[in-house]
Amino acid sequence: MKKHISKINKYLLEHYPTIWNTRLVWMLSISIIIHLLFFIGGLLSLVNPASLHNRRAIDLFFDSGLYNFGILISIIMLVVWLIFLFKNNSFKSFYPNTRLQIFQHFVIYFVIIFFSTSFYFSFTLGIKLYIDSSYETETIQEEITLANNTALFFSHGIDQYKIGNRKHPRPFDSIFCETRSAYIKDDSLTFKFLSDTYQFYSLRTEIINNEKDNYYYGNSTEDYVYRKTNDSLTTYFFKDSIIDIRKHIETVAPSYYNHSKTFYNSNKDIYHEDYLYTTDYGLFDFDDNDKRLIRSRINNELLKRNNPNEIKAMLSDFLQILNLYKVEHNISADEWFQLIYKPDNFEINSFIRSSKPLPYERDFIYDASERTELEKFVAKNTTDYYMETSSLYNAFDNIEEIKSKNIFEDIIHFYCWFAFILASLIFIFRITGLRPFIFSVIVVTVLMTITALLATVVFQATNDDFGIYFIEYFILIIGTIILAIPIFYAEHVKKGIVAVCLNISIVGFLLYVLLIIGIISTHQANYCDTLSIEERVDCFILIESLGIYTSYILFVLGFIFLFFYSRIIKNWKALPEQ
């Protein structure tokens, strides 16, 4: 092995001195091995379906603390690498170096740092690959459909089974059920079940064009009960008149007929995204109204068919899914069927827990005398059966999220910029040495302090706009001077000072470009503020228009800059001291 390594080193040293010096091959080899281990780790981390029971399994790298381990490995790798890197420096020794070779050094530093720190991607890719290969999209959709169809029999609490949830048949699809006693107007048209009172209202709508009209800002009970936004139009729904629904209902008691909530909304469904939900009526569950209509219809049809075999088979299939995902439960299909099958009007009078009862749980329940009639009813009829359906929900959610997630989408920016900045710092340290590096840090700190002090004074003395402009242009002038010295005045200024400017230019050039974009955008934003609301919609602001592409543009620009700047670096190195 040692002989093999020596042989490769000899070859690299003789053929590719830059690669030998930077230990690119070894660092990449070690990185790839570690990436592979992380990838295998990711691949195995979700083998047990129970690991999908918690939310955001995609973030397992961070949530499991694995990132600490990754950071530790990265630090060890980079420290060892730096020790080897600093053994030789052809640039410092005045060995022939072309511009391209100088640029190559930087690129190699970047590649090494990126590969030595980005274990997140391998681990998450492992996770994604495992989920993609283990869970077929069609199967998952079938399981979701079955879970949603069975969800009306979950019997977790009473809320979803109250009459107010019913959305099928007509007129339940277009009415609003008021349950707050303070807002119930006419006692004659109310319905009571134990301590609960219900009153039904028809709805009227108002449509607002968001681009032309002002938004509707409500804060009273007369406000809309929910709203629906479609492109530029928002439809507001208001309570209109009380209606009598006696002829439409079999019973006012909680019933499986009333269940209309979809257990799991697949990300394959898109139509519910049109909604923006009011926060005024947080007590009421108005989300996914259209979905509720459909779900209520499906549930009602199932119950109307009243086919015990069909229901039993459905329960049995669902329990199999629970078993498949290792979701904890203690109920059999028969026991469950016995609890829910009330063919007369499918009233619910047995409840199933949504989690395993804790030992001595009953000791912690508050005083029974403080309970409402409804709560007493629920408490009395809650069985010892349980199904942790939220775990199944999380499992579906995790699978769908992992399948649809582009793992490189956002976090790649962080890793790229981290590698870029660290590579820049190592690069300037290698080029100009320790002393200019330290002086550069000191100069930047002093300049930042001066700028901050100036900003404080200016903002106190003038208005915000002037203050922003003043600081932006102040930094721009300082930045321009720093950039200009190594390019135009290197031979007239002390080499040490040029070195400091060179260092700051290399690390700060992209911030300089960002500052220019910022200044342009500030001017544009201020101009846009002078326009009318209609004109403002099309007002162009550079930084907003670039969005996330700013990161990509600056990143590419950084490399281009360093390629061309390598000539300045060479010129600086050749300067004599004064």
Binding site: K87, N88, S90, F94, Y95, P96, A574, L575, P576, E577
Partner: protein
């Protein structure tokens, strides 16, 4: 007789006189001049064998002669140019008012020449070398560099100006890898890299030290490795600041002889400027000597060489002043100066050095060291 033939004859004489070490070094110099890698490999193999069996002198000589035979068949074209590699024209350097200033200094050096830069501490030797290496700027005057290939940038020029400071930096990693890194950085054919490095190691007498770590080397060998690294860069100019510092007398002589020999290559001569306080040793190998005094170039050396013909002798003796003075009095002694450690005796030009030694012997004067410094810059130091 060609230059090569004359050198081969010289080497043969060394071997005939059993001066193996010197002959072998000269042989390696000739082999390096051939630039023939097969001969390099022969030399490397022989060096390896020689280090393993140092007692086998007969065979070493025989095998050396055999390689020399091959060398003699090569055609080495001597380097010929009359142009100066560096021409310095009245340069000055000042470190602010009332501080040290160097210059005016003018000099010219050609390839193959060795320039000795002498002077006491703080007289500007290092400053001058660093100015020549373009490490520091000068205030006025011109320096013209004339290389085989015209540098296309200042950085390119500095890759050709090889300067070794007095305190060399530590090497990290394998010594051989450091040497190979130089060649690969200079774009030497990968197939030749190992051979050329081993040849240089052999030439600099580092064969048995190539596997050591930097920290395990003595100062002398560190300097030799530094020179090896430098010479691999095929410099046209070599600027050495106090290369003899921290070396014992033998090592000093050896390294100077090597430098002189290497710089005097038939086809790749090097212009060498070195600073030192070891006057005797430097003067021995230098073609020219610059004496710096308070930053000024002392031209007395050149001027006085022919005109001032006084006999000046440095004597280290334990005897009292009186008996010494009596023993020399009849030899037209002008003055006798005792500086606490040694005596400096000034005689009339008609007095010969041998008559002084004869008189000291006749008067039974115990002498531990005696040297004629009439033509040496040493006389400026001791006067």
């Amino acid at each position: 007789m060609t230059e090569l033939q004359s050198r081969i004859n010289e080497i043969l004489k060394f071997f005939d006189n059993n001066d193996i070490s010197l002959g072998y070094r000269k042989l390696l110099d000739c082999i390096i001049d051939t630039q023939d890698l097969s001969l390099y490999e022969d030399a490397i193999e022989l060096t390896d064998w020689k280090e393993k069996f140092p007692e086998e002198t007969e065979e070493i000589i025989q095998r050396s002669k055999s390689i020399l035979e091959k060398v003699s068949k090569k055609d080495i074209k001597p380097y010929k140019t009359d142009e100066s590699t560096i021409k310095v024209d009245v340069i000055n350097k000042s470190y602010g008012t009332n501080k040290f200033s160097l210059g005016p200094i003018s000099l010219e050096i050609k390839k193959g020449d060795v320039y000795g830069l002498v002077g006491e501490n703080g007289n500007g030797k290092t400053t001058l070398l660093r100015i020549l290496a373009k490490e520091i700027s000068h205030d006025s005057g011109d320096i013209v560099y004339n290389f085989e290939e015209t540098p296309n940038s200042t950085y390119d020029l500095r890759t050709k100006l090889v300067y070794i400071p007095q305190r060399t930096k530590k090497w990290y990693g394998s010594l051989k890898d450091n040497l190979k890194f130089v060649l690969s950085s200079y774009g030497v054919n990968p197939k030749e890299n190992e051979t050329r490095v081993l040849m240089m190691i052999a030439r600099m007498g580092l064969w048995n030290y190539k596997h050591l770590k930097w920290s395990e080397l003595s100062s002398g060998y560190k300097m030799r490795f530094e020179l090896a690294r430098t010479l691999l860069r095929k410099p046209e100019v070599l600027l050495l600041d106090e290369p003899l510092a921290n070396l014992d007398v033998l090592a000093q002589q050896l390294i100077l002889e090597d430098l002189k020999s290497i710089c005097n290559s038939i086809n790749n001569p090097i212009a060498l400027i070195l600073s030192s306080q070891q006057l005797y040793e430097v003067e021995k190998v230098s073609d020219k000597v610059i004496y710096l005094e308070n930053g000024k170039q002392n031209d007395e050396i050149e001027d006085k060489k022919d005109t001032d013909a006084k006999l000046i002798i440095e004597i280290d003796s334990t005897v009292e002043r009186e008996p010494l003075e009596q023993s020399l009095h009849h030899l037209q002694l002008d003055k006798l100066i005792y500086n606490g450690g040694i005596y400096i005796a000034y005689f009339d030009a008609s007095t010969s050095f041998s008559s002084v030694m004869k008189s000291l012997g006749e008067h039974n004067i115990e002498v531990t060291y005696i040297r004629n410094i009439s033509q040496s810059t040493r006389r400026f130091f001791v006067s």
